[in-house]
Amino acid sequence: MAMFAIYFKEINSFFSSLIGYIVIGTFLVLMGLVMWVFPEYSVLDNNYANLDALFGVAPMIFLFLIPAVSMRTFAEEKQSGTIELLVTRPISDWQIVGGKFLACLTLVVFSLLPTVFYYITVYQLGAPQGNLDSGGILGSYIGLLFLAGAFVAIGIFASSLTNNQIVAFVLATFLCFMTYMAFDSLSRLPIFFGKTDDIVQSIGISYHYDSISRGVLDSRDVVYFISVIVLFLAATVLSLGRRRWEK
């Protein structure tokens, strides 16, 4: 399928440049520090055999790393003019967007994979050995993947709006932050509090991420994440087709 031509081209460009290695390296170094070194989070200092530190901090790191991965997807193609060749090939805009989305998500998965070692280590450290909530951890990984998917979709959308990668990065970070955390805080405003605060809260990503992290895979949370991803990918397709309806 033509979508995979784009997928593999993007993956290749991550690993033939430094981007792929820097993203994975930065994520793992930060995660390692948080898990084992920083006293306020570290498993060794908290004396609980769990991965709460990982799942609590990873979204914050993704908030910056994922926009950095996705910022070039369309902005660079627009800047160099290659977008013109891309959209005149016999492939649909959905395939182009889908290929780029999956490629960015794959890079995030690659950076997450090595953290399985943390699970193994903490499993050994538990007293008694193996005393940790494996179901909750699996749920948290799934939640983190959904969150990453939503961030990637937002990042690609931001990239499709501009031909400047820095603008794409800043816009994506802002949009990710807003959808991740802002609704949580907004819900505590007096006009919402005690009335519609749970509705406002449930628009945000953190509400659903926390819910999945508890280890309960609720279909509402899954539907929420898939909706956010599809919504932003659809917005990207719409933005790509802007030349068609712009007068």
């Binding site: 290749n12 460009s13 033939s16 440049s17 160099s80 003019g81 977008i83 005149t88 649909s92 030349r243």
Partner: protein, 301 residues
């Protein structure tokens, strides 16, 4: 009929970038697109490739309407955009393989090697595109346009920025391609049209002002032929005017005269006869050829 453009209109903010343009391009023909900068050449090409939508009118590529069956039409078009955009951080073969993947070309690796050879990229196939000189980048651009063996090639200023040797090579390549495909190329180098194209279309301010084979274009639009003659002895305008079909006589100094007649008459024989009758020795006699430049200037004033 490979490409059929029917009453094409494109407006940008109430301005007609392309205004009611109709033409056809046939298989085995290189069609030159001429016009001053901003005349609507690039816009027309972008519409044919499906990058921009038209405001009105129809475009058909190999029988597929680009608005109704865009995928079928796009699959049959090879496109080299203006400024030849490329991924600078990809290797030549990698990029061509990527292009093959998007077109679902069968035996992609073999086809890529074929294209590399045909465009003379063999010694550069393992280089980064960003490291290539402009001439070689242009070849990569042509290779990606031809990779899926399209019936129609749309080349927007394929020789811009190349040195004279590279220009000759690329032109030869385009000429070879023109035998089996439909090639539409835009240029503002008028000599290029004469060198490569079978037919020329001239666009000015979005309107089609000429569409004819090059030879015809040169005669039809100037409407007159000019003959220059140098005699050994003196003669005068009055006598020269009596020569059959001569409409105007102009002295170029000394015994050199320029005579104008309508395009359908070749007055050289008459001038020769005049010289013999008047016992004048004819030192020089030639017909001025109109260049595409003249036609172009006349049509796009």
């Amino acid at each position: 009929m490979s490409v059929k453009v029917h009453h094409l209109v494109k407006t940008f903010e109430a301005q007609h970038a392309v205004d009611d343009v109709s033409f056809e391009a046939h298989k085995g023909e290189v069609l030159g697109f001429l016009g001053p900068n901003g005349a609507g050449k690039t816009t027309t090409m972008k519409i044919i490739t499906g990058y921009l939508p038209q405001s009105a009118g129809q475009v058909e590529v190999c029988g597929f309407n680009i608005s109704e069956s865009p995928m079928e039409a796009r699959a049959r078009v090879g496109y080299l955009p203006e400024h030849n955009p490329l991924y600078r951080d990809m290797y030549v073969r990698e990029y061509l393989a990527f292009t093959a993947g998007m077109h679902q070309v069968r035996n992609a690796a073999k086809r890529v090697d074929e294209m590399v050879e045909r465009t003379g990229l063999t010694s550069h196939r393992h280089k980064l595109i960003g490291e290539l000189s402009k001439g070689y980048r242009q070849r990569v651009g042509l290779a990606q346009a031809m990779l899926h063996d399209p019936e129609v090639l749309i080349l927007d200023e394929p020789t811009s920025g190349l040195d004279p040797n590279q220009i000759i090579e690329i032109r030869q390549l385009i000429k070879d391609l023109g035998r089996e495909k439909t090639v539409i190329l835009s240029t503002h180098i008028l000599g290029e049209v004469e060198a490569v194209c079978d037919r020329a279309i001239i666009i000015n301010k979005g309107k089609l002002v000429a569409n004819a084979p090059i030879q015809e274009l040169k005669q039809q639009f100037t409407g007159q032929s000019i003959v220059t003659a140098e005699f050994a002895g003196k003669t005068d305008a009055g006598q020269l005017k009596k020569i059959r079909h001569v409409l105007a006589v102009q002295s170029l100094g000394g015994n050199t005269w320029q005579m104008t007649a309508s395009a359908e008459h070749d007055i050289r024989a008459d001038v020769f006869a005049f010289a013999v009758d008047n016992k004048l020795t004819l030192l020089e006699l030639h017909k001025e050829l109109f260049s595409v430049e003249d036609v172009f200037q006349q049509l796009t004033k």
